[in-house]
């Protein structure tokens, strides 16, 4: 019996296929409805850039949700961290590295603060971060004195607006393909190392074709316009990092255990409090990174930067199959959820759907997605 290599279609993988199919339908529909504008390299590049901030927040949010918590303050923290970064470069005239470090440190410190209140003082995360939503928004307004601070530093703006040179894009693709092949080789070899049978190099190579094809297609599409946008590059790095944390680390496993059954986790020797503290800090760091992209893209820090971003991030996680009760959800799903939301935004804007209608449609889709999920769960 070789369970490690057995292909299995679990409920979560089935769900992922369905979501990809839904995304495909949305794309095909918009492509048709927009007279073939939607699926062009230019629009796809824009779409990816537009989703990057939400998706980065969703990666961090997913881990918090999996642990059975929630963070309503990320939009406000994003505004505050971005404000600090802008203040550092424009008002205090520091260089870009200081701004980057400042934004991330602010995010981490705020995350730790929320984590301590939640895990060690037993205040529900909903309350802690609802307070945070108000307080940090107030802090941005105080910091910026109600004004908008433009970014004077051009390198800073490049974070949000520039693209990788085409050759660097292809070089990255090559590196990524080599990495995929290396993983496939190691996986095949481990079968032998652990005495589970003969390595199946050919089979693993075959399985690697799909990710390799994806990498080539992605770089090709991005390079067909202006090259990989920097925000998209950062998103990819964050998503890979998040996937690594949730799938391949003890910390990630503990998050699922704590969210799945906090008592069982505690009695199994897991330090629930410390892990919850860590996951809030991690979300804080990612919020800091997202704030840099957001501020750079807009070209300024404003008092209402990031308003309602927390809801976009939570919606992305939930559409991606995360349970707000904790214990369930994937990074892949959250990113797909963010992509679906961004596709709806982008497509409806291209179709000149009125603002209010866009909101009504997005809200309905969020509720419908969860409703279908619950129905599917009851039947099984």
């Amino acid at each position: 019996m070789d369970e490690t290599n057995k292909t299995r279609i679990t409920k979560s993988t089935l769900r992922a296929y369905i979501m990809i199919a839904v995304l495909g339908l949305i794309w095909v529909y918009f492509h048709w409805a927009t007279d073939s504008i939607f699926l062009t390299p230019r629009n796809l590049s824009n779409l990816m850039t537009q989703m990057s901030v939400t998706a980065i927040l969703a990666v961090g949010m997913l881990m918090v949700i999996v642990s059975g918590n929630i963070d309503l303050s990320v939009g406000a923290v994003l505004g505050f961290a971005g404000g600090i970064a802008a203040y550092a470069v424009t008002v205090l005239d520091y260089g870009l590295p200081v701004a980057i470090i400042a934004a991330i440190v602010v995010g981490v410190v705020i995350g730790l603060f929320h984590g301590v209140l939640t895990a060690y003082l037993n205040i529900p995360a909903f309350i802690v971060t609802l307070g945070g939503l108000l307080a940090w928004r107030g802090a941005v307004k105080w910091l910026l004195g109600g004004n908008t601070i433009p970014i004077s530093n051009e390198t800073f703006k490049a974070i949000g607006n520039n693209n990788l040179p085409l050759s660097v894009g292809w070089a990255l693709a090559a590196a990524a393909i080599l990495f995929v092949l290396f993983i496939a080789y190691r996986k095949a070899k481990s079968v032998k190392d652990y005495g589970l049978g003969e390595p199946n190099y050919g089979g693993e190579l075959l399985k690697a074709i799909i990710p390799i094809g994806g990498i080539v297609a992605f770089i090709w599409v991005m390079n067909a316009y202006q090259g990989v946008p920097i925000p998209v590059l950062i998103l990819l790095a964050v998503a890979l990092f998040g996937g690594f944390i949730t799938d391949s680390t003890t910390f990630g496993r503990y998050l699922y255990a704590i969210g799945g059954n906090a008592d069982a986790a505690r009695l199994s020797g897991i330090n629930n409090k410390r892990n919850i503290l860590k996951v809030f800090a991690l979300l804080g760091a990612l919020t800091g990174i997202a704030s840099l992209i957001f501020t750079a893209r807009v070209g300024s820090a404003s008092p209402d930067a990031g308003v309602l971003k927390e809801l976009d991030a939570i919606a992305a996680c939930v559409i991606g199959g995360a349970s707000l009760m904790g214990g369930r959800g994937t990074i892949f799903g959250a990113c797909l959820g963010a992509l679906i939301m961004a596709s709806l935004d982008n497509g409806m804007s291209l179709l000149n759907v009125r603002d209010f209608m866009q909101d009504i449609i997005k809200g309905s889709i969020l509720v419908a997605a969860v409703g279908l999920d619950m129905m599917g769960r009851k039947q099984s």
């Binding site: 057995k6 799945g260 020797g269 214990g327």
Partner: protein, 503 residues
């Protein structure tokens, strides 16, 4: 003419006959105690009486005032004058005493509550019972004892003629128990019939007119309290063939693996209430130490406190392998080589949404995989051992634990702890609610582990199980150590006597 008569009640659950032709009578003003081991059928019988199990889900007849009654739900039994006070109080802590007494029946006019009438009625009711409680204070602010009395007042507000009390004194202090008894005696004078479920035989003999013993879903004896004694009641409670499903195994043991001194654990909710009161015990390598006791005796709390997992206050000294050590958290305990198969697998043992593999490797994850990174292949390899030796029946280790049978779930929890390579293993109710086949397999595994040199501490409410597996038995009663027996000395009668605080 009896007040209440239950005739030939049979209640079946899938695979188990919980009540097997039980008959029970209660007269006006009679105090009738219902005793028996955990799982003897006392609670099931009371659920039948109260309509929790509605008519049609059981066989037999219920007569109140010589009239056959058909209870389709709790409302019907309440209307017939039956009130039950369950172990867990069913009061709303955030509401006042008066609101609780008239919950759902508040005097009102088109939904608008007449507060002055409500509080007037409530205070009259409390005065009748000589309870010095202000009906306007919140229930949450009262002590557990007073809450219990409010519960009784609530039952009487519905003109209850039959009052069922399920372990009412479990959470009470001695003076509160006295107050309760004074009130119960008053009710008796008024003609209220009372059914009293208790493990405390002293109380039972002090208060009862009649005593009925249930065992394995059958009535084994009903006696007037004056005509019987504690020893006969105990004998009736335990009189069961231990049978041979316990493979007798002699274990060699000399070296003390774990020694616990003066363990005291306090209640989480009630300040200063000791659930375990300076208990000391030790267990040797290769020995199975059984801890017997009735529900609420403090057995789980004892193990939790040793393991560093008790959430109330606690204090104790611990030696592992003869060396004094400190254990402040489950993480510490695991590092010192202690494993803990907790009770109630669904609540404390498993993550039901996750696979067998994820559950099994959870406690030992860092030693199996690595400190920071997980390794699926190594985990799968590690889980294969217990999957096979415990004969867990599932398609693969990737089966979700929520879909397994109780026995297999229990084996997964056991497997989780075996993967931490414990030197000392605590087992808390390891066979609760699982079938006989799985029980046998778990018994065999316990013997095998002991033979391999593991020190095992076994808590079980099933007396035959404790007696059949243990080399030595200690008994707890209300948090205190009331007996210690070698395998040869440990007879059901002696252990039950110690467990009921009568020795």
């Amino acid at each position: 003419m009896p007040l209440l008569e239950m005739r030939n009640i049979v209640k079946e659950f899938p695979g188990v006959r919980a009540l097997d032709g039980v008959s029970f009578t209660l007269d006006r003003g009679e105090f009738h105690a219902l005793v028996g081991e955990n799982g003897a059928g006392k609670s099931t019988l009371m659920k039948v009486l109260s309509g929790v199990f509605p008519e049609g889900t059981f066989e037999g007849e219920i007569l109140v005032d010589d009239e056959v009654r058909h209870f389709r739900g709790i409302r019907d039994s309440e209307a017939a004058g039956i009130a039950i006070i369950f172990q867990e109080l069913s009061l709303v802590k955030e509401l006042t005493v008066g609101e609780n007494i008239f919950l759902g029946k508040a005097p009102s006019w088109f939904g608008v509550i007449n507060w002055s009438e409500l509080y007037h009625k409530a205070s009259k009711l409390l005065k009748d019972l000589h309870l010095p409680i202000d009906p306007r204070v919140k229930v949450g602010g009262l002590g557990i004892g007073q809450q219990q009395l409010v519960e009784i007042a609530k039952a009487l507000s519905q003109n209850a003629k039959i009052l069922v009390l399920d372990e009412p004194t479990a959470a009470l202090t001695e003076s509160e128990v006295e107050t309760l008894f004074v009130i119960l005696k008053k009710l008796k004078e008024r003609g209220v019939g009372m059914i009293y479920i208790s493990h405390k035989l002293d109380e039972v003999f002090k208060m009862s007119d009649q005593i009925t013993v249930l065992r394995d879903g059958k009535t084994v004896a009903t006696h007037a309290a004056a005509e019987t004694d504690k020893n006969r009641v105990i004998a009736a409670m335990v009189g069961r063939d231990v049978g041979d499903i316990f493979p007798k195994a002699e274990h060699e043991h000399e070296q003390t693996a774990l020694s616990v001194k003066n363990l005291t654990a306090y209640s989480v909710d009630v300040a200063d209430k000791k659930l375990v009161d300076s208990v000391s015990f030790d267990v040797k390598r290769g020995e199975v130490l059984g801890i017997a006791g009735l529900m609420g005796a403090g057995r789980t709390e004892l193990l939790m406190a040793v393991f560093g997992a008790w959430q109330g206050e606690y204090s104790r000294e611990i030696e592992v392998d003869g060396k004094s050590t400190s254990i402040d958290s489950p993480t510490d305990a695991i590092a010192k080589g202690i494993g803990f198969v907790t009770e109630d697998r669904k609540r404390f043992g498993l993550i039901l949404d996750q696979t067998i593999l994820d559950n099994m490797t959870l406690a030992g994850l860092r030693s199996i995989s690595g400190r920071f990174l997980t390794n699926r292949t190594r985990e799968t390899m590690a889980a294969k051992g217990p999957m096979k030796s415990l004969r867990i029946k599932a398609n693969s280790s990737l089966t979700v634990t929520g879909t397994l049978s109780g026995g297999n779930q229990q084996k997964v929890v056991l497997g989780k702890w075996l993967l931490t390579n414990p030197k000392i293993l605590f087992l808390d109710e390891p066979t609760r609610g699982i079938d006989v086949g799985a029980k046998r397999e778990i018994y065999a595994e316990i013997n095998k582990l002991a033979k391999g040199g593991m020190a095992i501490v076994l808590v079980s409410s099933e007396l035959p199980e404790v007696l059949g597996l243990s080399d030595r038995v200690i008994v707890l009663h209300e948090g205190k150590l009331t007996g210690e027996f070698t395998r040869e000395e440990a007879t059901p009668e002696k252990v039950m006597a110690a467990a009921t605080g009568h020795n």
